[in-house]
Symmetry: C2
Subunit: 224 residues, 2 copies
């Protein structure tokens, strides 16, 4: 499968790119608004994988170019860039592709971190992204609670879960399967897009825990 | 310490009563609106503990009677009973006691389970309970995400976490300590009362996961 990480030059996109490139044979592509940044990040990931004895081609470039022909398009961008990002790649999105949104509605303040739905009427950022997606292209929510630093550290065994939400059952199943191919990650069906606000809401709690506990940083979640 | 489970005749109250009685030396009391029901449940727990070789006195009775002198008062009642319950025991609550609320704002519908703040202006049920508590008596939120069936099955090793929120640091620390005394349970400071909506919001997600996955029932959460 061809998996494109839009915004794959950092944060959760970097970790997912490295993990898929390391643990699977899927074609991994790194998209960026600045094509050179995408190329540079892809080269950096190739080099890191090579140092671990894994010779791997990772393609990098502009967002639209990397989206052409992709089966899976992960939007690793902040909530307020989601609509612009989708619009900018819309003509390159294949009708058979699946868009994945890991973005979370988060409001930081002195009193802690809170869940905050996006400015328009959507109840969650995931639904907001789904509303902005091309008609007929399923949007699946996933990877909301993954700690980016640990995900991009291939020495970390992970051993936690990610919750997957969506209204298209077969698209959701595909995202669950490619997620389970990452070692140490278990993907769990958490219901419909309508259930995404509560899933996104776990992230501010993870940050609040790390603020209150010196020894609990970069947490993931396991359901057991 | 004297720990009173208001509504300790079922659900999460039953499990907490059994676990504390089994794993600690704290005095455990079971309160119910119907005193006889409290007495009967306490006798049932004593008998179950005795069968496991643990001879233990568990006191049962009416809510107010069981609240007199209690250090910890756990309100194991549905959200819509919280205010009436607090009012009914108010004169028996010692100014040095700590109230603990495990209740969750939950709305069930065809589309799944959602987080739903209580009818008044509070953002969470925990804050709603805190508003109804006597002045000067700290209210701590805890045990929101614990699966009741597993908690009351002493053969279940648990091995998961509970998140604790509150504005009174020393009261929160006491609740964390008595929670950690339950084998297999780790209590984690998750911030202020203001952060309780997100903590409560994990529960509908746990129910949604169990609806979507045959093999994932009665889940707890571990942060790792």
């Amino acid at each position: 499968m061809i998996i494109t990480l839009i915004g794959g030059t950092g944060d959760i996109g970097e970790g997912l790119a490295l993990r898929w490139a390391h643990d699977t044979d899927h074609e991994i592509r790194i998209g960026s608004r600045d094509p050179q940044k995408g190329i540079d990040s892809a080269a950096k990931y190739e080099s890191e994988l090579s140092q671990r004895g894994k010779e791997r081609t990772v393609l990098g470039g502009g967002n639209s170019e990397m989206t052409e022909g992709a089966d899976i398009i992960v939007l690793s961008v902040p909530p307020y860039y989601i609509v612009d990002t989708i619009k900018s790649i819309e003509s390159a999105i294949s009708p058979t592709s699946i868009i994945v949104s890991p973005a979370v509605g988060l409001k930081r303040s002195e009193a802690g971190n809170f869940y905050s739905s996006p400015p328009p009427s959507s109840r969650s950022v995931t639904e907001y992204a789904a509303d902005a997606s091309p008609d007929g292209v399923p949007l699946i929510g996933a990877y909301h609670t993954l700690p980016a630093h640990r995900l991009s550290n291939l020495d970390d065994p992970l051993n936690f879960d990610t919750l997957v939400v969506g209204d298209d059952a077969s698209a959701k199943q595909i995202v669950i399967e490619i997620s389970n191919e990452i070692n140490g990650l278990r993907a769990i069906d958490a219901g419909a897009l309508e259930n995404s606000a509560e899933v996104e809401g776990i992230t501010p709690t993870l940050i609040n825990i790390s603020k209150s506990n010196k020894d609990l940083k970069d947490l993931g979640v396991e359901f057991k």
